[in-house]
Assembly symmetry: D4
Homo-oligomer: 153 residues x 8
């Protein structure tokens, strides 16, 4: 059986990645999960910490964002499926950026968000092959897509 | 020897996939076969079952068709050879869609159908590198293409 | 204002192309419409007529289908939008093939068909950015997409 | 001199597009500007209005978002430069989606926003070739990039 | 009506290009024909003549062949249709090279040769959408493909 | 150490492939060699034998050439390096076709032929990164390119 | 006759661009020439001047280099032929960068430099279809490539 | 965990590659490093040594540079990350060429050089996702990008 690679993009403040990974492992799904660096302070400070401090906020952020892009672009390009999760806090423009980037690369896109976000996310959802509300739905999708098995509910 | 990946698209109501896979295995061909979900009710109901019921037939079908597309697009893109089988029942527009999709991706296309369908399939056949009538011919093609061995008949 | 190129694929037995072209012209839309050869006997016989007769039906059809592909592939590749119309007669596998081909090229796909065909066309519709029932809806889409003008109904 | 095509994506509630277009015209820059439909109600209602009402908010939005995508994807693909403007209101995930989409297509990206948004936009800015604060800076960039003329300030 | 670009590759010792161009012009076909440099001595000597003499035959030829490639690659890439003509003299490996190059670019390929060459050209013919014997057949193909008009014979 | 894939195209009447493979194995080079079917009668007859006899020579050849293309196109696309050998007999247009095809795919091309063929092969040689006369030179190139080891001569 | 687009990259301290443009115009060649901004101070200062001063040399340069990239990348991508000129002063790494960039895009590359630079430019020259020493040779190449006319010397 | 491939291009006269490889190994990073042939005399002489002597310096260099390109192009294309190191000696145009080539392929680019080279390298740095001064910074980047671990300094 082929291994699938699924990139989990977006919100980093709840445990949705852990839930998807754990439930997929419990089902024995042949999936390799990838993700951005989810340690928020590290992802903010990596550029200045490794390459030298910047006094200006813009360049401080810039250096870090570019290091993160090395990881993100490589893993997005290597993914079969990209799941993008939007939470209820923060601007999350990087999540939407990833969704657009993945869409232009022709990746299969799954968007995960609360129904309350339906209107502002309508352009992102329109590019997706599935819009889910809960992590367990993503796991059910992976189980169906990969193994062809559907748990009737 | 390299492994080949062969996607078996189209008709899901006869055992042509099983025959090709079994005969290929008997010959020891280094082929990994992939296919859409061939459980018809599951492929119809997957969207509404996993992501929530839809009262409208159009959206019920739409949600399911998109989940199936996650599987189909990934496996088509990963295939070396795409075999598309047309049977004598149903519209089978998804099979012709897959043939067009595979053709635009530059995949080697083999079409499998009864000679009675020659005229309506002429555009699909014109895009193919082989047009076969029986599953065993597909197996002979794979044997020849992969191993260079021809069983004279 | 930019000119748009819209390829009108599929059914050739009703006047849907004429309606779309005439209504678009009446609205002054900057659209260049392209289409396959819609003279059915010509599209069947072109290969054998130009390149020499074939006794076998398969090769007779094959030669013609390939000549038609010269036109079809070039015009599909040059289109911004591809409209595919399915009628109630014939197999129309070439229409579904075109839809798959256009989809793999990343073209914006509009599918035009009667609601009675929703279920067998669900995979094709799932790849589309719009599913319309009547030619005038396609014209309204073009008017909105190109000029940004919406006629409220 | 060659004509350049510049797509103006993002915020639709202030007159930044008008300013850029007017100032560019005053300078005689050979630029063709394109943009999404900026009539907010029309862009929300286009799908249901043209293709039929939907009772469910999700599908109502979905139909409209997909029609808008026909315009957006074509114009983004045809652009030499994509300018994405973020304002201080709304989620603007479609703007970030466009930025990601344009970036994956290899388009030259200019982001336009207030410095107060620097931190949440750092991933988007990191993909850009210029980050401006005011429309007149975008015009100066176009003047320099296209004509090679720099107004020293 | 759109203009088509047709590249005429291969044999340079008979007047087949002139015939195709003249007959197409007589029919008013909207075609722009392109071709390699057909002045044989110029195409042999261009490199050494412009860039400096070479004593070694290999480098003398090499410099010329690369200059010709500047023209050939650009015109092949810009063509909608590539016609490759094989005559009865010389090795004509450059013609077969062009056919392979055009085929990998996804161009519509028409091969023009005497039936006596069918066997050695079978791989080239297999990549073509039409195999013609006479220049006037190529003109008939262009007339049909572009205008949709078939002269019954 | 990475494995390299080298496709050996062209002449099938001398043992050049065997020499390259044997010498490479003796040197322990991490290379996987691929090739077309080199059993001449099988490559001529495969189409008619598997898919049904054809009375017309053209279609007999056509069916076979297309089956061979399934193998050839897949292996060419998977190769890092393509070696094309021209001998002193036959038209060998398929070898030149492969060279053009590989070149358009951006493959590293090595051409192997006697100096007496320099002039007619000048366009093919001009697209190559190396032109060798003997199989052992190809092996030395592979050793150098892969291991960085140069045997001074 | 088709118009050709030729990008003139590299050295900005001698009048080689002017010579090529003037001589081409005198010959009536249908060429549109493009180039980077050749006003050295402007190309150094554009970023800080338009987008705001930077105290750090690195970011001062960075902002300018990125603005220049907007022009460079667009014009390189639109060119049929890229000429890169290396002079005897400065590092000229941007010229070599452009050559690599153009080469990866599959553009026809002409390198223009004094023979004294042959050894350090050998990798760049190896990617080129012509290596010239004088501007008038570039003009002769354009005349030959575009018009097929060779002035014997 | 996925393996990453990192190509180390550029300067061959100091031990920066060895340092990066050793430190990465010490950290257990799952990286496969690739590089050009760093034996300078071998890389100069390989062409003439294997394929035959050339009296002219240009062709002597040319043959060698093309053999090196077989290795370089394949390894660059297979890399996830390309590190390009500029030292204080020699022209190093091949390093800048590689940077441009990698950039056009969309590779993540890291440039490694002394701050004294900032100005002449500004166009190269502008295309990079990171600009480092020391090999240990490259190792820290790899550790962060691959494992998500940041050593605060």
């Amino acid at each position: 059986m082929q291994d699938w690679t699924v990139y989990l993009s977006g919100e980093i403040h709840t445990d949705w990645r852990g839930q998807i990974e754990e439930q997929s492992r419990a089902l024995g799904l042949p999936v390799r999960f990838t993700a951005p660096v989810t340690d928020h302070p590290a992802s903010d400070d990596c550029g200045a910490s490794i390459l030298g401090h910047e006094d200006t906020k813009f360049w401080y952020d810039h250096k870090g964002a570019k290091l993160n892009a090395i990881r993100t672009r490589s893993l997005l390009a290597a993914a079969d499926i990209v799941v993008v999760r939007f939470g209820d806090k923060y601007k999350q423009w990087n999540a939407a950026f990833d969704a657009g980037y993945a869409s232009a690369l022709g990746k299969s896109l799954i968007v995960l968000h609360d129904p309350s976000l339906t209107h502002p996310l309508k352009e992102v959802d329109a590019a997706a092959l599935a819009v889910a509300e809960k992590p367990e739905q993503v796991v059910q999708i992976l189980k169906y897509v990969i193994n062809g098995e559907l748990d009737r509910t």
